[in-house]
Subunit: 345 residues, 2 copies
């Protein structure tokens, strides 16, 4: 199977994307892989397999590698006399802004490039945590109560301490703080507003049970990962999550009842169906008093949550075999013709 790993992007999660790509390369080594890096200037580079190491990017060595441009059906590499088109299915590994906000999805759609990853609307509903709340309400999925604060707005928070403060649109715990009382609030808000102009406030529940479940639909069927109970130290901060993106060892199943697993799956299915087709996503849930609450949707989880699947390459093959195809609208000039006729032109 031919596959292009697309990674990098102009986002706070740029480094994380590089780590993800390096990890996935190992997991999918049996495939015929191409590597395309998007730098912070939004220039695409073709990276040789042997150069897929962190220092290629951190030292700027990638700049010596062939540049690519987007073209209908693929990425084009200009050579002296001609050009080569790299046209296989793209696996989008651009986390955070660019990748998860819908930009890359729209780009690939526009240029008719097949890709494994969330479509534009799926990105919008998972990237902004406020919109995830809208989705949960519409799909009848429980979430924690919340308030949204905007930059330069003065509003009293009604939720009781302790609180968790998050920039509305960043992943990987960047800019997130736990606030135990009023004294810590201003600093936490300032930190969050450095990354976004809107901020989500939720109650922080000490010791809440957390479970992660990944999955995807292929050939009309839902394929689930094992359920993982992530290790936690209050909450995973950026550095810990960062290491998480390099994970490739399969983890152990959470020791929970079949009944709870079924509940988690039901919630996953409600979120995924009709919106996330084409993507492998991970949903992070809370369980409180035996009830399942959605915490977050990761539309492009770190290293695609490979460690939650028994046979990750098989998952990618399955996904590739049933990607959503955009029905292309037929363009006609029927009305213009009829008007022209009416005008006698």
């Amino acid at each position: 199977m031919k596959l292009t790993l697309l990674f990098g992007g102009a986002s706070y999660e740029h480094e994380i994307s590089i780590v993800s790509a390096i990890t996935i390369k190992e997991k999918l080594e049996k495939f015929d892989l191409t590597f395309i890096f998007c730098d912070s200037e939004h220039t695409f580079y073709l990276i040789d397999a042997q150069d897929m190491k962190a220092t290629t990017f951190s030292r700027g060595e990638y700049k010596k590698m062939p540049k690519l441009t987007l073209s209908q059906g693929g990425f084009v590499q200009k050579t002296f006399f001609s050009s080569i088109k790299h046209s296989g299915t793209v696996l989008s590994l651009i986390h955070g802004g660019d990748g998860e906000d819908g930009t890359i999805a729209a780009l690939l759609d526009f240029f008719h490039i097949n890709y494994i990853g969330p479509r534009v609307d799926a990105c919008v509903f998972s990237y902004d945590k406020t919109y995830t709340k809208y989705l949960c309400y519409a799909k009848n999925i429980k979430t924690l109560e919340y308030e949204v604060l905007y930059l330069d707005e003065h509003k009293d928070i009604k939720i009781e301490y302790p609180l968790i403060i998050k920039p509305a649109r960043l992943g990987s715990s960047i800019g997130v703080s736990i606030v135990r009382d009023e004294s810590g609030l201003d600093y936490a808000l300032d930190t969050a507003f450095e990354f976004d102009r809107s901020v989500l406030v939720e109650p922080f529940i000490e010791g809440v049970k957390e479970y992660n479940l990944a999955g995807f639909i292929a050939n009309g069927e839902l394929h689930y990962s094992i359920v993982e109970e992530p290790q936690k130290n209050e909450f995973l901060d950026f550095e810990k999550k960062y290491m998480d993106f390099a994970r490739s060892e399969q983890v152990l199943k959470a020791e929970i009842s079949e009944q709870l697993i079924a509940k988690l799956k039901t919630n996953f299915e409600k979120i995924y169906t009709g919106l996330f087709e084409g993507a492998l996503i991970r949903c992070d849930f809370f369980v409180i008093d035996d009830e399942v609450y959605l915490n977050e949707i990761n539309p492009i989880p770190g290293s695609m949550a490979n460690y939650l699947f028994e046979d990750f390459p098989a998952c990618i093959e399955l996904l590739d075999s049933s990607l959503p195809r955009n029905k292309r609208a037929k363009v006609s000039y029927e009305y213009i013709h009829s008007i022209s006729r009416a005008k006698g032109k």
Copy 2:
């Protein structure tokens, strides 16, 4: 003021976009205008002002005109020895798919091109009528009750006849039917499903009062159009709406109370703020028993609803002066460096 009109696109509203661009050209003739056409193959062409007539497109004459490609900061025209970059603010006039589904917005964002038009998330919430319902709920705005049907799904409709059936994601009344009793249902559903895989069902309210209001935020302030009571013949079908896109004569204000105008504006503001900045949108409302209901958001209204504004060119100048700027994420290699150091590499 320099401005690039971008129009066309691969959508059912391709022709409508051409009509919009021709109309806007007349209204903005005092500006220094550039015309860029996106054909159904997603190729961009530079169109000379004198060729801005319907037959240039319907007869395929545009194919002889210079091709453009997207590049950081603008559209590039390759000449024999060098290249010219067209880099002014873009006014996006691509209606329907491509323009209103977020694709064009994402493309312009990715290539750092300033534009007047809805951003990606604004598109997602207005293009799919189901997501508009989610937004209304979250923002506490009344809408008609609704049900969503999916292709190949068998579900009884609970809403009472007469019904209005709409493809979830098309504008300009394409694929929309009114169904008075069960005998017309299958045909109406088949028609709608030709255009989309999900369909919205709402009650059809005979003779309901309809009011349209357009507006935008510039320099922190909301600027409203007059309120229009659209003429209707049951509902505007495609052909009638099509003619609507060519409108350039200012219309008369609806004769309604100041109180109702204020209510419409309050609803408009709730929808617009925090989501539609950068765009001039038109909201179509119903008024039932003195209560305002949102019917539809037009994130790129036909000919930008110029006929609702007294001084349309001034609106465009205002918008251009306060477009949202994307804060560009700083990319660092801090973590990769620290890991490399820890490994002694």
